[in-house]
C-alpha cells in the first residue's frame, strides 16, 4: 500500500461515501459558480467536490435549469460562470462599471488580435497599415484582454498575441470561434495571411510563416 492511496474503506477519505447523486452535484456546482465572480474550470470544481463527482455533467444540468431565468450559466473558454441575463442590464445601473474608453487604435488592434490570433505585431501593423504603439499593446495586456501566445517559428522568433478568457468573459463569448462574423471573414479569405506580391516567394520562410500561422489559428479556434 502506498502512502498516497489509502486502502478502500479508509474512513478519513471520501471514497468511503458514495458519490453524491447528480441532483446534489448540481447543488454543489451551483454554489461554487454562484460564489465566484470569476469563471471556474471543471477541474477546479471536481477538485473541490467529493471524489467521483462529474462537474461537467452537473454544470450542463444547471445550465438547462437556468434557461430563461434572471441569471444564466455561461461557458467562457474552458471555464464556467454565472452571469445576469443581458436583457436585465438596465436594472443594474448601480453595478455598472465604467469601462475605459478605448481609442480607435486599441479597438482595432484588439479586433485584429481576436480574429487573427495568434498574430505578431508586424502582422497587426501590416493589417492596419500603421505602426502599433507600445502603449496600445500594454493597455490591452493590462486590461487582461490579450496575452502573449507562442513565439512564431520564423526568423527572429517574434512573439504572438492571443486573446484571453477575460476577453471572452467580457464580450460574452463561449469561445473565440463565436466571434461575430468570423465565418464570413474566413470564407472571404480575409483572415488569410497573404504576403504582399514579391514577398511570398522571396524566401522559404515567408511560406513557413504562413503555414505556421494557419496551424496556430486552427489550434486556437478548433478547441
Amino acid at each position: 500500500m502506498t502512502d498516497q492511496t489509502p486502502p478502500p474503506g479508509t474512513p478519513a477519505n471520501d471514497s468511503l461515501f458514495e458519490t453524491p447523486p447528480m441532483a446534489e452535484q448540481e447543488r454543489m456546482v451551483e454554489a461554487i459558480l454562484f460564489a465566484s465572480a470569476e469563471p471556474v474550470t471543471i477541474g477546479d470544481m471536481n477538485a473541490r467536490m467529493p471524489h467521483g463527482c462529474n462537474a461537467l455533467e452537473a454544470v450542463r444540468h444547471l445550465q438547462a435549469r437556468y434557461e430563461g431565468r434572471g441569471i444564466r450559466v455561461v461557458q467562457v473558454g474552458d471555464q464556467w460562470a454565472i452571469r445576469t441575463a443581458p436583457d436585465l442590464g438596465h436594472l443594474m445601473q448601480k453595478e455598472t462599471v465604467e469601462t475605459r474608453k478605448l481609442s480607435r487604435a486599441a479597438i482595432e488592434t484588439l479586433a485584429i488580435i481576436a480574429y487573427h490570433q495568434p498574430v505578431t505585431r508586424a502582422e497587426i501593423e501590416e493589417i492596419r497599415g500603421v505602426s502599433v504603439s507600445r502603449g496600445t499593446i500594454d493597455l490591452l495586456i493590462e486590461m487582461g484582454w490579450i496575452r502573449f501566445g507562442r513565439r512564431r517559428m520564423t526568423p527572429g522568433r517574434p512573439v504572438t498575441f492571443v486573446v484571453t478568457a477575460t476577453f471572452l468573459d467580457h464580450f460574452g463569448l463561449e469561445t473565440a470561434r463565436d466571434l461575430p462574423g468570423l465565418k464570413e471573414l474566413r470564407e472571404a479569405g480575409l483572415l488569410d495571411n497573404r504576403p504582399p506580391p514579391g514577398f511570398g516567394n522571396l524566401d522559404e520562410d515567408g511560406d513557413d510563416g504562413e503555414h505556421d500561422a494557419d496551424e496556430g489559428q486552427d489550434d486556437m479556434f478548433e478547441e
Binding site: R128, G129, S131
Partner: protein, 264 residues
C-alpha cells in the same frame, strides 16, 4: 512629369472637394492605409471593384494638396505616395517582359485586398464592441465568496515503519528491564508540577537551575534528564503565560520569573 498635367483632368470637382476636406482632417487618420480606405469610399463602389489607378491618383492629389496647404505629413504618408506613384506608372505602362517582380495588377490586387481586410476588421471591431458586455449589460456575482485555502497535513506511516520503530525500542539498551526503571528519568510533567508550586514565590528573575529537584544534581544521567525536564517545563510555563524567560547571551544562565497578570 507628364502625369501631373493629366491629374487635374482625371478628378472630378467632387473628388477634389472631398480630398480637401480630408486634408484638413489629416490628424484624424490612422495612417496612409486608413486614408486610402477613406478615399476609396468616395468612389462609392464595392471595395472589390475599386479602381486602384483612380485611388492612386486621389492619394497623390491629396498629398499635393497637403503640400500646398503647408500641412506636414508624416513620413509613412510620403512613403505610400512614392509607392503609389510607382504603382501608377506600372499600371499605365505596358508590361515589360524583361522586368522582374510582380506586375502592376498583382500589386493593385493586393492593395485592394488590404483595404478590404482593413474595412472588414473595422466592421467586426464595431460588432464586437456593440456586443452585450460584462459590467454594462450583464454582471458577475456582486458579493463573491472567496475560496479559503486550507492546508491539511497528512502524516504517513506504514506497518513497516511501525514495526521497525518497535524493534528499535526493544533492541535498545540491550533489552534492559524497563519496568520500574524510572530512577533516572525526570519527566517534564514532574518538573512542571514542581515548578508550578514554586513559581509563586519567585517574583524576581531566578536561574532555572535553582528549580532542579534535590538529589538530581550530581549524577550526570540524572542531571541531564532533570535539566531537560526543567527547561521544557519552564518553556511550558511561558507558553501558558505564567512565566517569563530571559537569557543575556548564549550559554548564559537562563532566568525565570513569574508573570504578573492583573486580570488573573
Amino acid at each position: 512629369m507628364a502625369e501631373d498635367e493629366h491629374r487635374d483632368a482625371s478628378l472630378s470637382v467632387n473628388e477634389r472637394l472631398a480630398a480637401e476636406a480630408l486634408v484638413v482632417d489629416v490628424d484624424g487618420f490612422e495612417g496612409p492605409l486608413d486614408l486610402l480606405l477613406n478615399l476609396a469610399r468616395t468612389q462609392k463602389v464595392d471595395l472589390l471593384r475599386i479602381s486602384v489607378l483612380q485611388l492612386a491618383r486621389q492619394y497623390l492629389f491629396f498629398v499635393e494638396k497637403a503640400k500646398e496647404l503647408r500641412i506636414e505629413l508624416a513620413a509613412d504618408y510620403l512613403v505610400m505616395a512614392a509607392w503609389l506613384a510607382f504603382l501608377k506608372s506600372r499600371l499605365l505602362l505596358p508590361p515589360d517582359p524583361e522586368e522582374e517582380g510582380p506586375s502592376g495588377e498583382d500589386l493593385a490586387a493586393h492593395l485592394a485586398f488590404q483595404l478590404e481586410r482593413l474595412s472588414a476588421m473595422r466592421d467586426v471591431a464595431a460588432r464586437l464592441m456593440a456586443r452585450d458586455r460584462l459590467g454594462r449589460d450583464f454582471f458577475p456575482r456582486g458579493i463573491p465568496e472567496g475560496v479559503e485555502r486550507v492546508r491539511r497535513v497528512e502524516y504517513s506511516a506504514n506497518l513497516l515503519d511501525l514495526m521497525q520503530a518497535y524493534a528499535r525500542i526493544r533492541t535498545r539498551d540491550e533489552f534492559r528491564p524497563y519496568v520500574m526503571d524510572r530512577d533516572n528519568v525526570f519527566t517534564m510533567e514532574q518538573a512542571l508540577d514542581r515548578m508550578r508550586h514554586m513559581i509563586g514565590f519567585a517574583g524576581s528573575w531566578t536561574d532555572i537551575m535553582s528549580y532542579m529537584p534535590q538529589g538530581w544534581e550530581s549524577d550526570p544521567v540524572r542531571r541531564r534528564s532533570a535539566t531537560a525536564a526543567t527547561f521544557a517545563a519552564a518553556l511550558e510555563l511561558v507558553k501558558e503565560g505564567h512565566a517569563e524567560l530571559r537569557q543575556s547571551e548564549t550559554f548564559a544562565p537562563i532566568q525565570l520569573r513569574q508573570r504578573t497578570k492583573p486580570d488573573d
